[in-house]
């Protein structure tokens, strides 16, 4: 009963079911080939890296009661900045310069996050609107940076972060894993997580309790921006070009969905890093599975919609009570209430 009541039970069960389907439908679920792991499972892990990164940032933002709609645009800007700078390099394969450029792109993304955070915490604009500004204008900025073109780059160190392998595992997944580890340690082994939840619960009460609520709010948007920037780098490295129109298109919706599937409430005050990662991997697995089991491409979105509807309803406490409550005997329900 306790396992069934856990918020993460249904998402985990659906993920497991999808993975089992993949074991049967894919040619190679997981094998060792050319010195690194290979197969559908690895594809899922590699492909889910950008969504995991964006969703992690989104989790922190949502835990403070905010929301960040601008992540997709930040991804586009970050990819555009990186590709523009790499294209001008004399030697596109110079590791040091590429790393420096990636740092610059992430710094730009963090600065955009700072803009979002300042609007929310200092000016006091509602998060959904404050980040809507950058969502609308950001893609225009990315188009200006690339001058409306798709910038192609031929840089092997840059491509490595998306398609490379290290210790038999995809580098993109390792980057995501490092981000998960860092954020999990920072929020769950220090007081930071508690402070985030406290700000999400009530910003004014937190301030009265001596927590610098504004500083924390600004910080989560900066982190969200930086992580979206990193995700944008992986995305653009994967296609070896900067695509200011399709990079991160609609990823904010997938990220918010991943966070909600993971059991983080949109009103803030509570968050689950593990749940978010589960949600992000679930969404990616769903996309891979739909192709794997041969659902025609025109029905992929419909399939996704049905799973999303089922998930959202299964997580609604009221829905479970109304639908499944009838099957229980009444005295048992009454007995639970006083306890």
């Amino acid at each position: 009963m306790t396992i069934l009541k856990n918020r993460l039970f249904w998402p985990a069960a659906i993920l497991l079911a999808l993975l089992i389907v993949n074991v049967f439908t894919s040619n190679q679920f997981i094998t060792l080939q050319d010195g690194h792991l290979f197969g559908t499972l690895i594809d899922i892990l590699r492909g889910s890296a950008p969504l995991i990164l964006v969703s992690l940032g989104m989790t922190l933002v949502i835990s403070t009661g905010g929301i960040d709609l601008s992540v997709g645009s930040v991804m586009a800007i970050s990819g555009a900045v990186a590709c523009l700078l790499i294209k001008d390099l004399g030697n596109q394969n110079a590791v040091g310069s590429v790393l420096l450029i990636m740092a610059v792109a992430i710094a730009v993304s963090a600065a955009l996050g700072l803009w979002n955070g300042s609007l929310v915490a200092i000016v006091g604009i509602q998060p959904i609107i404050a980040t809507l500004i950058l969502m609308v204008a950001g893609r225009g900025l990315a188009q200006l940076i690339t001058a409306g073109q798709i910038i192609n780059v031929q840089s092997s160190p840059y491509a490595t972060i998306a398609t490379g392998f290290f210790l038999t595992l995809p580098v993109a997944f390792l980057i995501a894993l490092a981000a998960i580890g860092l954020i999990a340690v920072l929020t769950r082994r220090t007081a930071l997580g508690l402070l985030l939840e406290s700000v999400g619960g009530s910003p004014s009460a937190s301030r009265l309790a001596g927590i610098q609520a504004k500083r924390i709010t600004v910080m989560v948007y900066v982190v969200s921006g930086a992580l979206a920037g990193l995700a944008g780098l992986i995305y653009s490295a994967n296609i070896k070009s900067a695509d200011s129109i399709y990079a991160g298109n609609l990823i904010e919706l997938d990220a918010i969905l991943a966070v909600v599937i993971g059991g983080t409430a949109l009103i803030g005050g509570r968050f689950s890093i593990l749940g978010t990662v589960l949600g992000a991997v679930l969404i990616q697995t769903l996309q891979v599975t739909v192709v794997g089991i041969g659902v025609p491409s025109k029905a992929t979105l419909l399939f996704k919609a049905v799973v999303v509807v089922v998930l959202c309803l299964s997580q609604s406490v009221t829905f479970r009570e109304k639908v499944f409550g009838r099957f229980k005997s009444r005295p048992a329900v009454r007995a639970e209430v006083p306890a």
């Binding site: 929301i67 000016v123 006091g124 604009i125 509602q126 959904i128 609107i129 404050a130 809507l132 500004i133 950058l134 969502m135 609308v136 204008a137 950001g138 893609r139 225009g140 900025l141 188009q143 200006l144 409306g148 919706l253 918010i256 969905l257 909600v260 949109l266 009103i267 491409s297 025109k298 029905a299 992929t300 979105l301 419909l302 399939f303 996704k304 919609a305 049905v306 999303v308 509807v309 959202c312 309803l313 609604s316 406490v317 009221t318 829905f319 109304k322």
Partner: protein, 340 residues
Amino acid sequence: MTTIDATPPSTNQKAAVNPRRRVYRPNTKYIPILATLALLIVMYVSGIANYRNFDQPSVVVNLFRDNAVLLVVTVGMTFVILTGGIDLSVGAVISLTTTLTATLLQGGWPPLLVLPLVLLLGALLGAGMGAVIHYFKVEPFIATLAGLFLARGLALFINQESIPIRDKLWTTLSDMRIPLGEHTRTTPTAVVALSAVLIAAAVLAWTRFGRNVYAIGGSADSALLMGLPVARTRIAVYTVSGFCAALGGVLYTINSTSGHALQGSGTELDAIASCVIGGVLLTGGAGYVFGSLLGVLVYGMIGTIINFQGDLNSAWTRIVVGILLFGFILLQRLVTRRAR
């Protein structure tokens, strides 16, 4: 310029009525709308000053023609936002409506059956989302996001290609022009859009339903304690929004005589932005349909000016809209702070 001319007489009037007030201050709830109106006038005047033929009446008339779809959708969105909710599904409902209309017409269904059918479908989708939001306490953002995936998924499932419409009623409506003067003509779609605005404004201002919408936006708990029909009203606003989105889809099929499943993506954000520019507070309870109308016109005016300029690329549209959004939100922020 016109705004400055208009202010002094009203100053005198106010001073005469209420001697304690020395300076005229418009009611704070009208400030965002007046600011939008002023901006629209400034944009229009600067357009006339900078571009040839901008002063033709057709420029203004075409604003309504070109933005008819957005206008209708924004009207529906205004209802939802006034209750403090949000509807992300409108763009997807547009695409579903256009695809379904085109497919059914191609299949030889009578047009007078197709029209009510697709409008009903949009309303039903909206009602479904409203019911899920109210009864299962799923957040509007998530419930309408699921609705977005569902509607666009259905649209893509029906057909991924652009479908032409050769139905007689549709082509007649598409070619029909309503003369408004010597050189100015408008389309039936613009008339439909404008009527939607007027009907919505009347409903919000003078009906019990309209008051309930504002009451729920102000405080849903208080509305419930006052005995207002919160469930019915909340489901109704999403129904209105779904209906308006479907109507927007129909207008789109009339404008373009085709249906496409990718049509209308991003319309939800344009509609939300128009509402915000028009002074509708996203927290609910404050705003007017006429504000949203002005928001859509500002949106359309930006596009018109960029068209007249000619050498600006579309990237600038987004950036200008972003800057405008920022300006208006800042203004609203200042206004609401002063009101406290």
